[in-house]
């Protein structure tokens, strides 16, 4: 099934490559140029429409990729592993109003140019390019009237209309994605409109990868093939990567200090990921994926009821996830905070820690069985 993700608000961000996806069809529309504002007797020029660019980009599951949706006249981009798709922005009317151009991607179409102004009339903005055709130019002003915006081809955005002394009395902005703005109509109607922002669309196929190969017709599996293709994956799914530990030693907790929990009683760790010196569990190489982490922390406080927080840390607290914050007793029952969070770990690289923080009082962890700090980490999916 093809899945599309569209970013249609100006700005930038990161896209997480899903499991099994190794290539993405990335489409980028540049931003439209703004119309020229002028108070001279001659109207301004419309802004150029944004360029459209498409390419197939190699990506790696689990990695983050940067996208940028341009505001007016800017370039929209998506950067894959080795290739960047870039749709160039149209020029503003004041810098010539030409349509966006210059992509080196496999498929690309130029944006339409903005129309020229005439006496008391501004030119129309050029449309952005569509997915299969170049953008259309904005119309030149015939004088006293604004020029029409370029009509959008399929997938593109229309150019805005220029202003004119007789009609229309105000220019209009380009429409997204990437339409150029209409120009001002000169001294009587000088106001110009902006170009529209661009757009980035990512399309990918979630069926791209099987974990084990398809069996060819008439295939008689060897025992080694069976073990590698069937028995091994099923055995892994049956017996996943698991780590469980608890803290039975005493540990003081200082008020408002994030305290790393030195779990000392490892209940199970078949991949030997626990590093007692650093009090963290290293995800074993070759076993990256989504892990579910449950964390319970305890604090026997010594004054007024504080808030106790359990926090999961990744890579020495470079990433922290608070999973529970509870008002705890200061006598009798131990303070306990329990929660869970799935996290993405890269094998051989990412480590997991457990932290406790008590706010409002100092304290010490409970060491009685059944009231201890516990950390469990379990592989959940690729």
């Amino acid at each position: 099934m093809a899945v599309s993700t569209t970013y249609s608000t100006a700005g930038s961000g990161l896209w997480l490559c899903p499991v099994g996806v190794t290539s993405v069809q990335a489409e980028c529309w540049g931003g439209g140029g703004g119309g020229q504002q002028t108070s001279a007797s001659t109207g301004g020029r419309g802004g150029g429409g944004g360029e459209y660019a498409l390419d197939t980009v190699g990506v790696t599951p689990g990695r983050l990729y940067a996208w940028n949706v341009a505001s007016a006249a800017g370039n929209s981009t998506f950067a894959g592993d080795t290739l960047t798709v870039r749709g160039h922005g149209g020029k503003s009317g004041s810098t010539g109003g030409s349509g966006g151009t210059g992509s080196i991607n496999a498929t690309h179409f130029d944006g339409g140019s903005g129309g020229r102004g005439a006496s008391r009339g501004g030119g129309g903005g050029g449309s952005s390019a569509g997915t299969a055709a170049a953008g259309n130019n904005g119309s030149d002003s015939p004088g006293n009237f604004g020029g029409a915006g370029g009509t959008a081809p399929a997938g593109g955005g229309s150019g805005g209309e220029g202003a004119g002394a007789l009609f229309p009395f105000a220019s209009s902005p380009g429409t997204a994605p990437g339409g150029g703005g209409g120009a001002g109509g000169g001294s009587l109607e000088p106001g110009a409109s902006g170009g529209a922002h661009g757009q980035v669309r990512l399309t990918y196929d979630l069926t791209a990868q099987p974990v084990i190969p398809y069996f060819p017709a008439g295939y008689a599996p060897l025992h080694s093939d069976f073990d590698g293709w069937i028995q091994a994956p099923l055995a892994f799914l049956t017996s996943r990567v698991v780590f469980r530990a608890e803290l039975s030693n005493a540990l003081s907790l200082t008020n408002n200090v994030n305290t790393l929990i030195p779990f000392n009683n490892v209940l199970e760790d078949p991949f030997s990921g626990w590093n007692p010196g650093a009090s963290q569990w290293l995800c074993p190489a070759g076993y990256g994926g989504l892990y579910n982490v449950t964390l319970t922390v305890s604090a026997q406080s010594n004054s007024s009821n504080p808030v106790l927080e359990s926090r999961i840390g990744i890579d020495s607290a470079a990433y922290l996830y608070t999973v529970c914050k509870t008002v705890t007793p200061n006598g009798g029952p131990a303070g306990l905070a329990s929660g869970s969070q799935p996290v993405q770990l890269f094998g051989g690289a990412d480590s997991v820690q457990g932290y406790a923080i008590v706010i409002g009082a100092s304290g010490a962890v409970a060491t009685n069985a059944g009231q201890r700090c516990t950390l469990t980490i379990e592989w959940s999916a690729l």
């Binding site: 979630l206 974990v211 099923l234 049956t238 449950t294 329990s338 799935p342």
Partner: protein, 369 residues
């Protein structure tokens, strides 16, 4: 859908005295393993310091994703608060709601999971606290939820989940900066169909000249995949009644009797003893939640009792109010042996018995051998 939601094992006898079809292997093994290794998983959070209105469960907009492996959520879509079902089955939904507490006495705050399905809207409350002093609390919530109707984000007629927040006090906002981020996570757990299959042995293929027969293939391929796509699962809730928790001395546990089943695919619940008898050995995820009446100055805790020994999760002390409901919970992994008994444990020390409330529940599912 791109991958079958779970394998389609052939009926017994399908391959008697006939070759195993490649198509059957594809369905039963390739697709099954692929799905199980890539089961739908999602986690996203809110950075917007969401404003929560009083006296209603308010959905939280999830503007940023940690991951969304089957694209069931669109942060830029019309409904960024929704996670849409991408494959039918039971999901573990987990949420965390951190609050900006800005004052007020006896303020009830809670986290919840909202499930919107063909059967209607179900709001599963998680931890609930009543705050009377200047703290920023945060509540965890989890539940096993069945979703069946699939659809792309923003589609109508599809089942979806929401993270919800509740307050009885106006003008509260949620926190929205790391590490205090309102977060909703969901992952596919199993189909929930009735079963009695054992934990797979996953035997190695015999080296020739030995040969395998249908029984061997069924046990080591079909049944293995079927078990993994439908492991032992339980969701039991308290049937509203007159049960109370006696005031106790820490850490004495009170067993909570649960009477309403929505999931018990291995028929492992013993209603007579109100406990779950683990049908298979392995590491299990356990979510235990106890809700009871609020009492001034009382401490509360929730946990589970395994073979008579109780492990506690969250505890909480009530500031000063006697109104509302206090909900404590525990999320934990346990290693159970087949036959281990598991029951829900509650504690309170108000000095008098307190009533158990309907939000009480126990969720368990097998994760790994």
């Amino acid at each position: 859908m791109p991958i079958p939601p779970y394998p389609q094992p052939p009926s017994p006898g399908t391959f008697t005295n006939t070759p195993v079809l490649v198509s059957a292997l594809r369905d039963d093994v390739t697709s099954g393993v692929t799905f199980l290794a890539n089961r739908p998983a999602f986690s996203a959070y809110s950075t917007g310091n969401a404003s929560i209105s009083a006296d209603s469960f308010t959905p939280v907009v999830l503007d940023t994703e940690y991951f969304d492996t089957w694209a069931g959520h669109s942060p830029l879509g019309t409904y960024p608060q929704n996670y849409y079902c991408q494959s039918p089955g039971w999901y573990l939904a987990e949420g965390f709601v951190p609050w900006n507490y800005t004052g007020g006495s006896f303020v009830a705050l809670a986290a919840a999971i909202g499930a919107f399905t063909a059967g209607g809207t179900a709001i599963s409350e998680g931890q609930a606290q009543v705050i009377a002093t200047g703290v920023n609390p945060g509540m965890f919530a989890a539940d096993l939820v069945q979703l069946t109707r699939t659809g792309v984000p923003d589609s109508s007629g599809s089942d979806y989940l929401q993270l919800m927040a509740f307050t009885n006090y106006s003008s509260f906002t949620l926190q929205g900066t790391s590490p205090n981020l309102p977060t909703l996570s969901a992952r596919w757990v199993g189909s929930g169909a009735a079963s009695t299959l054992p934990v797979p042995a996953n035997a190695s293929f015999p080296v020739p000249p030995s040969y395998v027969d249908e029984t061997w293939l069924d046990a080591n391929v079909r049944d293995a995949v079927s078990f993994l796509s439908n492991p032992p699962m339980l969701r039991y809730t308290y049937a509203p009644g007159s049960q109370t928790i006696s005031s106790g001395t820490w850490p004495a546990a009170a067993k909570i009797t649960l009477g309403t089943s929505s999931l018990d695919n291995y028929s492992a619940w013993d209603p007579g003893s109100s406990q779950w008898i683990a049908p298979a050995a392995g590491v299990h995820y356990v979510y235990a939640q106890v809700a009871c009446t609020s009492a001034s100055g009382a401490a509360y805790a929730a946990g589970v009792t395994v073979n008579g020994t109780t492990t506690w999760g969250q505890s909480y002390i009530n500031g000063a109010t006697t109104s509302g409901t206090i909900i404590c919970s525990m999320a934990e992994h346990f290693r159970f042996a087949a036959g281990d008994t598991v029951s829900l444990a509650g504690f309170q020390n108000a000095g008098s018995a307190l009533s158990v409330k309907a939000q009480t529940r126990l969720c368990i599912f097998w994760e790994s051998s």
